[in-house]
């Protein structure tokens, strides 16, 4: 097992000095990851050499841009184990992907009094879009409870399935608890109950191998910016048969087959869901990001982060008055949220920042979960391929210093 993946040199930002003098210890990758040079270069190269609008153009640059854009779609499909790239829709981010499902599949196939299921550990982006539908359609939205350990309560889920839900929306990995959910099992149970599934993959695809076809997910959403890719681009995977039966999302150029003064007909998938000039440079940058991650190998990413996380769990749980949220090291990804007695997360983050350590403080867009945990906020350290055990040692020292300031 390597002590580091030796990729630090690939990330130009790691050379940045914080507050003029400190090395950057970036422990906020669950919010957004840093970007390797190859991705930054791919974007730069697109603008400097290929830039043109896609799909409709009959000229060299337009054809090259289209090919690169569609090639990125194919690469991403392959990266997440999707056989048919037409099932990969480019969106802005995970949030838009989930909203797309709610506004199209949801609008067409959900009716008064239908039940949909989410969970207590969801990010706002897998709760709020459903609340909007609930208001519109008079649905009932139920939340699968979490256990005291911070895992999904499968018995409670089983009980909720008796309500014959039409849709089950849940996260592959919690961005607060670090819990990795048994996705395959949940999907199977949902399917048996006749529900379709919407999986929030924002925290999974960056960190371990995911095969969407194998999981048999109906919809699966993720964001490039959390996995070495550009901001402004995300993916919605949807099964072909579902996508084809859904009404379009936004209307405009590229998503149409024909427009007259009387009406319009929609294009075939995936274009039906990609209205207007897409985020071309960002899609291509995302393609470069999955190339980069593939070169390292997602299995290596996963086992390296596992090692880091175990080390961090050990180190952090040794700190007096520090309480870690969520399950033990065995069942979790590289996200560790914690509280420190008598010290507010804002103050922890602020004081750590002064020595260059970047963590996140707040509700991490999971207010209901914090409500459930009885906490107004927590502090979160999250890891990625460029972090090392040294970073965790720095965090420990930083936390000691925080305690000293408040002692």
């Amino acid at each position: 097992m390597p002590n580091t993946l030796n990729v630090q040199g690939d990330f130009p930002i790691l050379k940045r000095k914080i507050h003029n003098e400190n090395k950057l210890v970036y422990l906020d990758s669950a919010a957004t990851s840093q970007k390797p040079s190859s991705v930054i270069q791919a974007v730069d190269n697109y603008y400097s050499n290929t830039n043109a609008n896609v799909h409709r153009g009959i000229h060299f640059l337009a054809e090259e841009a289209t090919e690169k854009y569609e090639n990125a779609r194919k690469k991403i499909a392959k990266f997440v184990g999707v056989g048919d790239p037409n099932q990969i829709i480019f969106t802005r981010n995970t949030t838009e992907s989930i909203n797309l499902v709610a506004r199209t599949w949801g609008s067409k196939f959900l009716n008064d009094d239908d039940v949909i299921i989410s969970t207590e550990m969801e990010h706002h982006s897998n709760i709020v879009p459903w609340f909007s539908l609930v208001q519109e359609k008079n649905l009932s939205l139920k939340f699968v409870q979490i256990t005291s350990e911070g895992k999904l309560d499968i018995d409670h889920f089983r009980a909720l399935l008796k309500l014959n839900p039409k849709l089950v929306a849940f996260t592959h990995m919690s961005n607060v608890l670090g819990t990795i959910n048994p996705v395959k099992e949940i999907i199977e149970m949902a399917h048996e109950a006749g529900a379709i599934t919407v999986v929030d993959g924002a925290q999974s695809t960056p960190h371990f191998p995911v095969s969407i076809d194998e999981l048999d997910a109906d919809f699966y959403a993720f964001s490039a910016h959390k996995m070495c890719g550009p901001t402004g681009i995300g993916i919605l995977f949807g099964k072909k048969a579902l996508l084809e039966n859904m009404p379009p999302f936004l209307g405009g150029g590229d998503m149409i087959k024909k427009v007259t003064f009387k009406g319009f007909s929609a294009n075939s998938i995936p274009y039906k869901f990609e209205a207007g000039t897409p985020a071309i440079a960002q899609a291509i940058g995302f393609g470069a990001a999955v190339d980069y991650l593939s070169t390292i190998g997602m299995k290596n990413v996963c086992s390296y982060e596992k090692e880091l996380t175990e080390y961090a769990m050990e180190i952090l749980s040794g700190i007096n008055g520090l309480h870690i949220l969520g399950p033990s090291a065995v069942d979790r990804g590289g996200v560790i949220s914690f509280t420190l007695d008598h010290i507010h997360p804002h103050d922890i983050a602020q004081i750590l920042d002064q020595s260059g350590i970047a963590v996140r403080a707040g509700h991490h867009c999971a207010m209901p979960l914090h409500e459930k945990l009885g906490l107004p906020a927590s502090t979160r350290a999250s890891f990625y391929i460029y972090n090392t055990k040294n970073d965790i040692d720095d965090l420990k020292e930083g936390l000691f210093h925080v305690q000293k300031v408040f002692s």
Binding site: H19, H344, P345, H346, D347, Q350, I351, Q354, S355, A361, G362, H363, M367, H370, L375, P376, A377, V405, F406
Partner: protein, 132 residues
Amino acid sequence: MDDLYREIIIEHYKNPLHKGRIENSDYTFEDENPLCGDHLQIELRVNADQKVVDAKFDGQGCAISISAADLLLDSIIGKSIEDLKALSKKDILDLLGIELSPVRLKCALLSLKVLKAAVYELQEADDDLIQK
């Protein structure tokens, strides 16, 4: 380094002078900073001249928001309700004696926001009321 956490801030956070409740307060309001879930309630008692004779806050928050609340309430004793309406962002920053990023500014200004809502008897204070 650590200058955000000046002695005075830590002191007012650890041992606030105005933490608590007032029975039969004349003005009261509560609000929260949704960004961090911090929650603050302020209660005032005034005399016949509408001058503040007692001020208390209750709730939870970070060192910046709690010490700002405590310093603010300490500074308004003896002032009239009209005086309170004139308070601004700058007054809070002067009390704290530090510079703040936009995110932390929200922490620092929570108490002023709650106070303004209380004295204007609003549902919630507009950001415009505390600017400058």
